[in-house]
């Protein structure tokens, strides 16, 4: 169970990072397309 907690803690950080990165990527795409 401790191992699961360790993986979940870092996993949540990675998930947040992926969301943030795709949010920025989407904006980059939109702004490049609107040029």
């Amino acid at each position: 169970m401790e191992i699961l907690v360790a993986v979940c803690l870092g996993g949540w950080v990675i998930f947040t990072g992926i969301f943030f990165r795709s949010f920025i990527q989407r904006e980059i795409n939109e702004r490049k397309n609107s040029k």
Binding site: I3, V7, V13, T16, F20, F23, I24, I28
Partner: protein, 529 residues
Amino acid sequence: MNIYLIGVIISLIIYLLVGLYAGNRVRNVNDYYVAGRKAPTILIVGSLIASFLSTGAFLGDTGEVYAGFFIPIVIVGVIQATGYLWGASLFGRYVRRSGVFTVPEYFGQRFHSRRIRKLTAITTIIAVTAYMLSAMQGITTLMSSITGLDYKTCVIIAWLSFTVFTIYSGSMGVLITDTIMFLVFLIAAIIAIPFISGNAGGWINGIHNLATSETVPGIISWHANLEYMFSSGIENIAWAVVYGIVWALVVMVSPWQTSRYLMAKNENTVLRSAIWASMGVMVTTILLYFGAAFVQSVNPNLVPSESMIWAAMNMMPTIVGVVMLAGILAAGVSSASTFLSLIGFSLTNDLITSNQNDEKKRLQISRIGMLVASLVVLILAYFNPPQIFWIMYFGGTVIASSWGIVAICSVWSKKLSEFGAFLGMLFGFVVCVVFKTMDALSVISLPFWADSFILGALASAIGMVIGSRIKPKTGAEEAEQQKLFVVPNTESVEELVITRKQTVYYLGFGLFVIAFFLFAWALPYLEII
């Protein structure tokens, strides 16, 4: 006079001098309220972390860990810190884009509504005052422990330690002193923890000792000590996840966090600051939590909220202890200075709106407003008993409950109207405060899944739906919302690409978190169990 007191006094004098120097550069209200909107990433990161981490984290949270609640507090710490990324992308950058001085002004402008501006200003003042009192009491507890002086004398010293430069320099001084104070407590946490773990027999031995602790059984197991809060591990973890989300929402929308973005020199600074602030908060808090657990294995007979103060004075070389105590004090002073500036700004910019066009007179009014606010806080603190942890929770959760959903929807909802936002904030605030007060007075006993925050957020959502049905969104409100999505010409795509690249550090940090908890906690713990 002991060496710890001398160190603390020297640090306070440095903050005062730096703050006063920064105050000399204040030329107009733009400098005073938003530091000229030209702050680089390092200053925004410093101020975000310094404003968020207060004595509550250094004394309150570590006290919870010391008492046996290690993993739940770690879970709250990690989840809340990710709130920076969610907040900056979903709310913070749009608040900055609106070009306002304060967060209540953002809501007023977004919904074309003076009453929303005033309501958010009032909720800011009430919640931030409660939060500020807890920061002041933390500073006071620390000073009292070091000096042996009585509580009331320490309240006055604590009050003086941040009011003078905050009133004089406004955000210009707060931004710089916050960053210095953040560096002090980050360094304190980094250099102090090896000494604390060393006293506990080394990191791995310390984990082994805690795993078999008889004084606080289960302190570092996944379920924590089952006599501390709930008698089942699942409930403890559920509590942690719920409160992690609550505090992530505080990070996302609270005025003491989002107002930092108003000072950023551009939107990429907002986004990059969120990445580094999130990692900075996690590193600082996780180090502290491990430290507090190790203190428990060395001396189990302390008052929990004073465990880190004891550690600074007994578990490390004197000079490191001085830095540690100065760091804890810095955490309290930095938050208190931000809170005071927010109360003052809400008072003079949003509640008492002046038609004064003379910049010098507006500046003067703002400073007088802040002085009045600080005197009120001094009087409240002077007569209040020291209860760090729960008072802090009250302040933080009220804002998240009242504003949380409305703030995010103010950017993204297609249906939310002015009346919906007003009712949402009002219902959320009233319900949260009423239930929190009844719970505190033991009139009712709420389970964690029906915490006053959750009831308030639910009431807020209901208020938003009802209000938006009764008075739907107007064309003017729609136009104001659309303005939020117009990217300023000054924001280049090339800079955004660089920001995207920085997210790789964050993903790598996530992997580091997994590795750290596996090798520094889970595996050593399982070895011995």
